[in-house]
């Protein structure tokens, strides 16, 4: 039975719409994964050299044993955020004459097919073969291998168990995350405990008593069994998938009322962003990117160069336009038909987009004003890039929106979600980042950097004041492609 499930799963993967019909994305993803993989492999292979550099005063095996637990704690933390729960896919099998045990067993087993379970093998095994096998013999090496596999399995199921629990109650996730952060802080900041010593306590003893390797195995098996039981008791669709029902209240944005129909559209879009997972993470990302400046501005090496400021300024004031705008109008794919037959003129629809961009960018610009601490010039550059984003970036983004006909499922998270990503998006990000430098770099080398900023500001302002022209052009362009877009959005 489990092999049938597995076959279905493979088919689901290869036949899913997102499994890159698009070759370019597939290649880029493969290269990225390969790159990460190679990095890990290199770190794993030269672990002994790295450890000697970082902890020059400690014995090699001691420092190796010390870092294992640290690794697993941070792994747990990232698993909690990134690892996906294998859940809803069982839905079609629940009512068929299939034993619950095999469904649950399958669910619990497939949870092992996660990249996370590969990292510790790549990272730690080379060291075990290179050093431990050589120093302590085959039995100890075997004990290490078994322990590491055991802890990985334990970690795997612990993360899933916590995730399942926190699906029912969001506080659990926050509490666990806080505990993990506190553990980290109490070692590295407050020096109350030493994770390295605790880690060594186990792995150090493992060298003398290889039998101890059974402990992680038992832990892993126990955690698996706990998951198995929990799943079996809760194998009901609503309990596995939905979160707690909360009363959803209607909201209003009185300020937007003065904008008429355009304001209504923007109000709807703001609700779209706040009430759906993926656009919400796009917004949160843009808030995070407001800290981007700290990396560059606090770096003494870049103190007096303007080039990174152009880049950073553009990103901070325009990240929302770029990140959210690149998937326009896919966000509205699920109700695009409704929008098309409603009494909404496309002009107003476009005006709504501009209004949204302007609002968020202005907000972002205001939030970046504290960077004035690093000098007034930075504020000036931010303002120039803010104008540029409103006058140029917004137009380019909307031009490409007309060329995007990929549906997006709003309810799915943003991390590692390639749904709706196509060549258009890749080209777009390139096209957005290039033009400011085309203006800035030549003028800078000719010795007129300020002229470059004046020029960019002017172009931005012109772009803002000629918006009605752009709206007309974009509208005519949209009607050329309307049917392709509506058709694409209907394709689930």
């Amino acid at each position: 039975m489990i092999s049938t499930f597995f076959k279905h799963e493979l088919k689901a993967f290869w036949r899913s719409k997102n499994t890159g019909k698009n070759l370019a994305i597939r290649i880029i993803m493969a290269v990225l994964i390969l790159y990460l993989f190679l990095n890990m492999l290199v770190v794993g292979f030269f672990m002994d050299t790295v450890l000697k550099k970082v902890f020059p005063h400690d014995a090699l095996i001691f420092s190796f044993c010390g870092i294992i637990l640290i690794y697993y704690l941070s792994e747990l933390f990232s698993r909690l955020q990134l690892q996906e729960l294998p859940t809803l896919r069982v839905q079609p099998y629940l009512q068929l004459p299939i034993k619950r045990n095999s469904i649950v067993g399958y669910l619990a087993l497939t949870a092992l097919f996660s990249v996370f379970n590969l990292w510790p093998i790549i990272l730690f095994f080379p060291f075990i073969f290179k050093v431990i096998l050589h120093d302590a013999g085959g039995l100890v090496a075997l004990a290490f291998i078994i322990s590491i596999l055991g802890i990985s399995i334990f970690n795997n199921y612990l993360a899933l168990y916590i995730k399942r629990k926190s699906n029912l109650n969001g506080w659990i996730f926050l509490i666990v995350a806080a505990v993990l952060v506190l553990i980290g802080l109490s070692d590295f900041m407050w020096h109350i405990i030493s994770i390295r010593n605790i880690s060594y306590l186990f792995f150090g003893n493992l060298i003398n008593h290889p039998v101890l390797a059974l402990v992680p195995v038992l832990l892993g098996a126990g955690m698996y069994y706990l998951n198995f039981l929990y799943l079996k008791q809760n194998l009901y669709l609503e309990e596995l998938s939905t979160k707690k029902e909360k009363y959803k209240s209607s909201t209003e944005f009185p300020i937007l009322n003065s904008f008429g129909a355009t304001g209504d559209l923007v109000a709807n879009e703001i609700k779209l962003i706040l009430r759906n997972k993926r656009p919400r993470s796009a917004l949160i990302m843009s808030l995070f990117f407001l800290l981007y400046g700290l990396i560059f501005y606090a770096n003494p090496g870049m103190k007096n160069s303007d080039a990174p400021r152009v880049f950073v300024g553009m990103f901070m004031t325009g990240f929302f336009i770029i990140n959210y705008g690149q998937f326009m109008y896919s966000w509205q794919a699920s109700h695009f038909d409704g929008l098309m037959v409603s009494k909404i003129s496309f002009t107003n629809f476009l005006k709504g987009k501009y209004l949204l961009f302007t609002t968020v960018s202005t907000l972002a610009f205001i939030l970046t004003t504290p960077y004035v601490y690093f000098g007034w010039r930075i504020l000036m550059i931010h303002f120039v890039m803010y104008l540029w984003n409103l006058g140029v970036t917004a137009n380019i983004v909307l031009y490409f929106a007309n060329r995007n006909a990929k549906r997006i499922d709003l309810s799915k998270g943003a991390s590692f979600n390639w749904e709706g990503v196509g060549a258009t998006q890749l080209m777009l990000s390139f096209l957005l980042l290039l033009p400011p430098f085309v203006i800035y770099v030549p003028l800078k080398f000719l010795g007129y950097p300020n002229l470059a900023f004046a020029l960019m500001a002017a172009i931005g302002v012109i772009g803002v004041f000629t918006r009605s022209y752009w709206i007309k052009t974009l509208e005519a362009d949209f009607y050329q492609r309307k049917f392709t877009i509506t058709e694409g959005f209907r394709n689930k």
Binding site: K246, K248, N268, L272, S334, G338, V341, S342, K343, L410
Partner: protein, 250 residues
């Protein structure tokens, strides 16, 4: 009201809609019937300018729907959940649609108060987004938002599907009532009883063509039942030969 001329839509070599001539007069109530794949929804979508026909055109009030937006002012339609903004609460959605037609919130509230029975207490003030409603309740939201717009022309694709029997009867009365007030309606359905009850004129579609266009009278239901009952042999023959239907097998 609506004129269709030489309309043709082809999907991967198969003609799914092929209507040389069809006219819908103002104030008519039209029922569209036909088996799955007959082209009903495709016809709806072409009338709403959501798909581009390979040939021909649809005129609404003597103006092509393609490339024009005037028809949106007096046409309301609900084909599927894709017409609803699912992350809004029903109230927010109604206010939004009302706002597009320059209706104040008070006006919308007044209008909705008249639909309390229709909603059966399951739509308003329940603290749910439209996406959390059942399919039947979503249909109710869609139909009501159409009526809220007080359109001259109303299009509903299978409105009787998914809703409970009580609501079906209420919907029938509502449709009759708005039609009496002069609203042109185009409704598709698989329920022959309902459709002959509500509509004055029935269009029967098969493989993209309108093969029957008849005014409803006492014998219409029987006629439709006879058409749809093909292959249904009252005394099942025990025979190795498959039953080949002439009409299906041209």
């Amino acid at each position: 009201m609506i004129q269709i001329k030489d309309l043709k839509k082809v999907y991967s070599g198969v003609i799914v809609v092929n209507i040389p001539q069809l006219e819908i007069q103002k104030g008519e109530s039209i029922g569209l019937v036909g088996n799955n794949g007959a082209g009903k929804t495709t016809l709806f979508r072409t009338i709403l300018d959501l798909i581009r026909p390979e040939a021909g055109e649809v005129l609404s009030n003597n103006e092509p729907v393609a490339g024009h937006e005037n028809w949106k002012n007096y046409t309301a339609s609900y084909l599927d959940e894709g017409f609803l903004i699912d992350y809004l609460t029903p109230e927010e959605y109604f206010y939004f649609i009302g706002g597009l037609h320059q209706q104040t919130r008070v006006h919308v509230d007044d209008f909705l108060a008249g639909y309390a029975d229709f909603f059966n207490g399951e739509i308003l003030k329940k603290g749910k987004y439209i996406r959390d409603l059942s399919k039947g309740n979503q249909t109710k939201v869609g139909i009501t938002s159409c009526l809220l717009q007080q359109p001259e022309f109303l299009m509903l694709d299978e409105p009787f599907a998914n809703i409970d029997p009580t609501t079906q009867f209420r919907l029938k009365n509502i449709l009759k009532e708005v039609n009496k007030k002069g609203m042109t309606t185009l409704v598709s359905s698989h329920d022959l009883n309902h459709i002959t009850d509500v509509c004055d004129r029935i269009l029967l579609m098969e493989k993209g063509k309108i093969i029957k266009d008849m005014a409803t009278n006492s014998s219409t239901l029987a006629e439709l039942e006879q058409y749809f009952a093909i292959g249904d042999v009252t005394a099942p023959k025990v025979s190795a030969e498959p039953i080949v239907d002439k009409e299906e097998n041209h």
